[in-house]
């Protein structure tokens, strides 16, 4: 039986002031897999994520999530459908604690309303307690137990990245888009994240990841898409990508060597 497509893009294009950042990209993400999107710097990988999640408006093409057309929806609506993401350059909310950061991710699962909050009704208390419990689980899941009440800005770089993943997971998404989750991490930390991504997959969550670290990409992804100059130039399993001549040319031709593997 063919795998079910959870996320599909058809001819997705993005333009910035007349410059094509993404030119008609077709991608199909199978439910339950770990998929990597790679490519040289400026290939349009992050733009691709932005166009899917409603952070920037696509100039053309369509995005389907679980069979539903989500093109042009607002980012919070897309998030609520079960599509969570992390950002490459954005940090967690600096002035909030680790727990609070994760609770923000629970926003769409909260049941209490303004009146509940003012009157501190039983529903409010139950709601808060349940979500705090959930947040505590997630904090433990990413290994930040000891830092629960620390402000995010006081975390180390690696911890902030972990917090960002936990925050995205708090949405209880069906698909998780990670934008360079291990950039700037050392080998041990990278190993930890790889382990974490596998655990996420084991929970039934599909993972799409943008990454430059080839050890991670080749190590955990089942399929790989390669973008260059906003266009899809290859797709296949890690072995096929490794020996694909167009991919090698894209990386070498751009004057930038991929991280060795």
């Amino acid at each position: 039986m063919a795998p079910r497509d959870l996320l599909v893009t058809e001819g997705l294009s993005v333009e910035f002031g007349g410059v094509r950042a993404l030119a008609g990209v077709d991608i199909a993400v199978h439910e339950g897999e770990i998929l990597a999107v790679i490519g040289p710097n400026g290939a349009g990988k992050t733009t691709f994520f932005n166009a899917i999640t409603g952070t920037c408006a696509p100039a053309g093409g369509r995005v389907f999530f679980d069979g539903r057309n989500i093109t042009g929806k607002k980012s919070h609506e897309i998030a609520r459908l079960g599509l969570a993401r992390s950002f490459q350059n954005l940090k967690p909310f600096a002035e909030m604690t680790v727990t609070e950061n994760i609770l923000i991710g629970r926003e769409s699962h909260l049941a209490s309303n303004l009146l509940d909050a003012v009157l501190r009704t039983p529903r409010f208390r139950a709601d808060e307690a349940a979500n705090h419990r959930k947040a505590r689980e997630l904090v433990a899941f990413v290994g930040l137990d000891k830092r629960r009440n620390t402000l995010a800005r006081d975390l180390t770089y690696g911890e902030q990245k972990m917090l960002e993943i936990a925050r995205a997971l708090a949405l209880e998404p069906r698909i998780l888009l990670l934008d360079e989750p291990v950039a700037g991490m050392n080998a041990t930390e990278t190993g930890f994240v790889m382990e974490l991504v596998r655990k996420v997959q084991a929970q039934g969550i599909t993972v799409v990841l943008i990454e430059h670290d080839m050890r991670m990409v080749m190590g955990i992804s089942e399929r790989i898409y390669v973008l260059d100059h906003g266009e899809l130039i290859a797709c296949g399993d890690p072995e096929a990508i490794r020996s694909n001549s167009r991919v090698i040319e894209a990386y070498l031709g751009g004057g930038k060597l991929a991280h060795h593997h």
Binding site: H76, M96, I104, E107, F124, L151
Partner: protein, 381 residues
């Protein structure tokens, strides 16, 4: 400080004084002295930033107050309740104004502090509240204060929505100017819609509320009433702040894009905080109308907006207790420093600059220190 840097700074301050020379008159001759004091403070700030001892002392003080926050709040409340017994009518009047401003500052803190949106014409909502009460109680005989009070809040809230829906998508600095314009428009309309607002003469003869068995005619009674309203407002805001709404507001303030990606409807959160802020502003306005018995456009100038903002800034942006402290300080202190009345706004302006540069978290202090104190109490590292 190296000699080179010192001379550069001296040069800087000398230039500053020279530039101010055209505006130096007998009664501002002390201005250069102030600049020197600021310089000294800055030096001290650098020094205390480097000196761990001072930092630790501050942590300890904040921690001390935080751990005993409940008894402290009760104590303060008790003092606030008892004060009218010994106070003169004049002092009571000042204290009642302080209470009204505390409501305003807490309300403004919702937008400025939690969602990080600078609202410059906030006094417009205050004016709308006051005029709603004024018009309802004097022109419609049947409508008493108890109906006018919530009505004032609701009308202000509606105006908040009216202004917020089209403009809250704008960038922060644009929004600040739009709200500034809003405050001005409200004032101009109050001045010119003679039939409804009485024009420049305002509305006279607004009665104080009655509780059925007793009117709140005496200054004491009205003071207590305002205190009760303030307590209620603060409680409501504190509870909302300590819930999903408060958390979402801060997330929106910190980064709208990230908040959106986590399923938060950024615009809705902005709208909620803006209209809540307007609502409480309107309530404060209704109290103001009842307190004065008379309102005119002159009470709702841009300076009032600045004053309220200054309270928020001084107390600490996003810090509810700070807003109360700020309101108390900025209303009560000038009454004791009458001889400086002329310089009041001058000093406030300078303070706003100084606070942004040296203490952006305000007098009451940043959350970091407070949280660290909590962590220590938990026994966590």
């Amino acid at each position: 400080m190296s000699g080179r840097k010192l001379s550069a700074e001296l040069f800087f301050y000398l230039g500053l004084m020279l530039v101010c020379a055209p505006f130096l008159k007998l009664h501002t001759a002390w201005l250069p002295a102030v600049f020197l004091v600021v310089w000294g403070l800055k030096w001290f700030g650098d020094f205390s930033g480097r000196n761990e001892g001072i930092g630790r002392l501050r942590e300890k003080v904040v921690g001390f107050f935080r751990q005993r926050s409940t008894p402290l709040v009760l104590l303060l409340l008790a003092v606030a309740v008892v004060v009218p017994f010994g106070a003169s009518t004049y002092l009571l009047d000042v204290l009642t104004s302080a209470l009204l401003y505390a409501i305003l500052a807490s309300a403004l803190n919702i937008t400025v502090g939690f969602t990080g949106v600078l609202v410059l014409g906030f006094i417009g909502f205050y004016a709308i509240g006051a005029y709603t009460t004024g018009i309802l109680t004097t022109k419609f005989a049947l409508c008493g204060f108890w109906l006018a009070l919530p009505a004032s809040g609701v009308v202000a809230l509606l105006f908040g929505l009216l202004l917020g829906i089209p403009t809250l998508r704008l960038k922060g600095d644009y929004l600040a100017i739009v709200t500034l314009g809003f405050g001005e428009i409200v004032k101009i309309f109050c001045n010119n819609l003679d039939a409804l607002t009485g024009g420049p003469n305002g509305i006279l003869g607004i009665k104080r509320p009655s509780l059925g068995f007793a009117t709140l005619d005496s200054p004491q009674a009205f003071y207590w009433f305002c205190l009760a309203v303030l307590a209620m407002v603060v409680l409501i805001i504190a509870r909302i702040a300590d819930s999903r709404y408060g958390r979402a507001w801060i997330a929106v303030r910190e980064n709208e894009m990230a908040a959106g990606a986590l399923g938060i409807d950024v615009f809705k959160k902005h709208l909620l905080s803006f209209s809540l802020s307007a609502f409480f502003g309107g309530i404060a306005g209704a109290l103001f109308a009842a307190k004065q018995g008379f309102i005119s456009p002159d009470s709702f100038t841009f300076y009032e907006s600045v004053l309220v903002l200054c309270m928020v800034v001084l107390g600490g942006i996003g810090n509810l207790a700070g807003s109360l402290v700020g309101a108390g300080l900025l209303i009560v202190l000038p009454e004791f420093l009458r001889e400086f009345a002329l310089y009041r706004m001058l000093i406030f302006g300078a303070l706003m600059v100084a606070f942004m540069i040296f203490r952006p978290h305000g007098l009451v202090g940043s959350r970091t220190i407070a949280l660290e104190a909590e962590d220590h109490a938990d026994g966590a590292p």
